[in-house]
Symmetry: C2
Subunit: 329 residues, 2 copies
DNA sequence: TTTATTTCATGTAACGTTTCACATTTTACG
DNA sequence: CGTAAAATGTGAAACGTTACATGAAATAAA
């Protein structure tokens, strides 16, 4: 007679081993228990192929060893690598990770936060774009790249230093006329500081610079137009460009090719993020590299409050420069 | 007096609204209930900011609306896109997804399967490399790219047709001497069929071909050596190469560049997967595109057994060719 | 051998839901 | 207006754990 109908419970194990329920619980949780009892219980567990029901555990303990990660998607390599390293950091601590792809949709973000809270996750890590995202007071939350108030820690790379580094690098490589190109969310987030850092770097090196900032809604074509307008007699008036992401850098390099400008001979390009071909081969462009593994680790540390110090409002992690073919060095 | 200590429960709502527990449950689950009662309960829910505890629901119902996805990582763009589309397909059905990055480690794969079962997930989707992976009989499992026995459905693109298409395409583009290059897992999985398909295609078009198959442990350098050996008087004896993945195609194209062979003028390259720059821009190389969104959708459909037909052992989804610069068209 | 003390298995209550038999109210009909 | 039938709210039991108070057995002391 088969009974595949439902998985065995602790009660089944207790019956099989001829001991009390509490004894099985102790064995399962490694609490002290008499040698002979332990063996009987362990045998029964093997025989029945028993596995604890972590939903029952979660209900009882009000602790689920589960965290939710909110990111727009895993298509963009930067988000994908963030997801990977956060997953690893959580797994290392025996936490499960629920992945929530928000597609940049503020409503979806809110929906997932609510879902996560219902699911009684132990915490949420979010790279979100909803300026009025409501997170329950008693759900730990760590934000990436955007400050969400004094009680919610934010982890980001040092975007200001990154901008500055880009400017200095371009200057060192001989550029005298540079520009900063930016598109994406117009929200007040950390990546915005790349602009100020770049500006600061240009000023300190005494090179002239221009800014072209496009928000979400603007079509990419405006960049193409901007660049064409700066071409006189076939020559681009910029000898260096700093693009807000590696993705934009790639698009710009394609545009420049169409405009008959050579990269890096005529104009040098520096991006931001540190994206590599197929995730782990060479850099797609010369870039300011975000320390993604460290960002991930820091998010998880803060989320699980491993050190009970008061949470800092903002953690800035150091960036570095990497050569990737779109500069002279 | 504050009571932020713990989240409100149904019992709290019932007390607040002055109704019975069961009535609250009915309101929460949209079951018929008297208008005046419904309003009282809904008010109480709002006032207390009540949210259901899905762990308690899961315990009671033995259904958790959660699935686990096992993939090596989200660094590799193919896996990353798989994760994204599966996530979307699950979310659409109000299922949560636990992401498990296995790093190609068979032991870790087994660990995650066990974990998922303890977590009482409603099912597992896995792209795994453990030939002896043990999955409990009563946990639905859908495998990607590898057949795991008659009772576990496997979803893959039509790898044979893909190989054939690559051969035909190369032949159409004028190639007469081609080769197939493959590295990666030596497991008997679906992607292995690319070779047979390619062979078949070459034979039917009457072009000569060679195979260079490297397994996991072989260093990439062997490809470089293989190619050098086929260069006579500076000229490569192949005019077309079919590489098992886009990733390998990229590495090979770099190697060819070092060997002073021009792509696609001297030798045309076709890869497999359909990887795009930054996930959504242009194809990194000419390639056989896997229908990732359809694969994802099919996995989820089979997992949740939406159509109660007996599960097919293998679902093959059609591939297509996309131009990406490493061929003449 | 008896008593005091320690050790450790036992079994029940509780976690927050859902479900279902039961009780109560409302509606319909004669 | 009274009774039967239909409609609907109630509260206890159960899901599979953990924790704790209880009691039994084993050990140590007298």
């Amino acid at each position: 007679m088969r009974r595949e109908t439902s998985a065995p419970t602790m009660k089944d194990v207790a019956r099989e081993a001829g001991v009390a329920l509490g004894t099985v619980s102790k064995v399962v949780n490694g609490l002290p228990v008499g040698e002979s009892y332990r063996i009987r219980v362990e045998d029964a567990i093997h025989k029945l192929n028993y596995q604890v029901n972590s939903y029952a555990q979660g209900l009882k303990a009000n602790k689920t060893y589960t965290a939710a990660l909110l990111i727009p998607n895993t298509i963009n390599p930067f988000f994908a690598s963030l997801a990977y390293y956060i997953n690893i950091a959580l797994m290392k601590r025996h936490y499960r990770m629920i992945l929530c792809s928000t597609d940049f949709d503020p409503l979806l973000e809110q929906e997932y936060v609510t879902m996560a809270q219902q699911n009684k996750v132990d915490g949420i890590i979010g790279l979100t774009y909803n300026p009025t995202l409501i997170v329950e007071e008693n759900t730990p939350f760590v934000s990436i790249d955007r400050s969400m108030g004094p009680h919610i820690p934010c982890v980001a790379c040092d975007n200001f230093a990154g901008g500055q580094l880009a400017a200095e690098k371009l200057a060192d490589l001989g550029c005298r006329n540079v520009a900063f190109l930016r598109n994406g969310s117009s929200l007040d987030n950390e990546p915005n500081k790349r602009k100020a850092g770049f500006e600061n770097g240009c000023l300190s090196r005494g090179i002239s610079y221009e800014m072209k900032i496009l928000d979400d809604s603007a079509p990419y074509e405006e960049f193409e137009q901007f660049l064409s307008e700066h071409i006189h007699n076939g020559k681009l008036s910029f000898d260096g460009l700093f693009c807000v992401t590696d993705r934009l850098t790639y698009l710009i390099s394609e545009t420049l090719r169409r405009l008959n400008q050579r990269v890096p001979e005529d104009v040098q390009l520096i991006g931001f993020d540190g994206i590599r071909s197929f995730g782990d081969i060479d850099y797609r462009c010369s870039t300011i590299v975000q320390p993604v593994p460290e960002i991930a680790e820091m998010c998880v540390e803060l989320l699980l409050q491993e050190n009970m110090r008061t949470k800092p409002p903002l953690v800035c992690l150091p960036v570095s420069y990497a050569y990737g073919g779109t500069t002279l060095g």
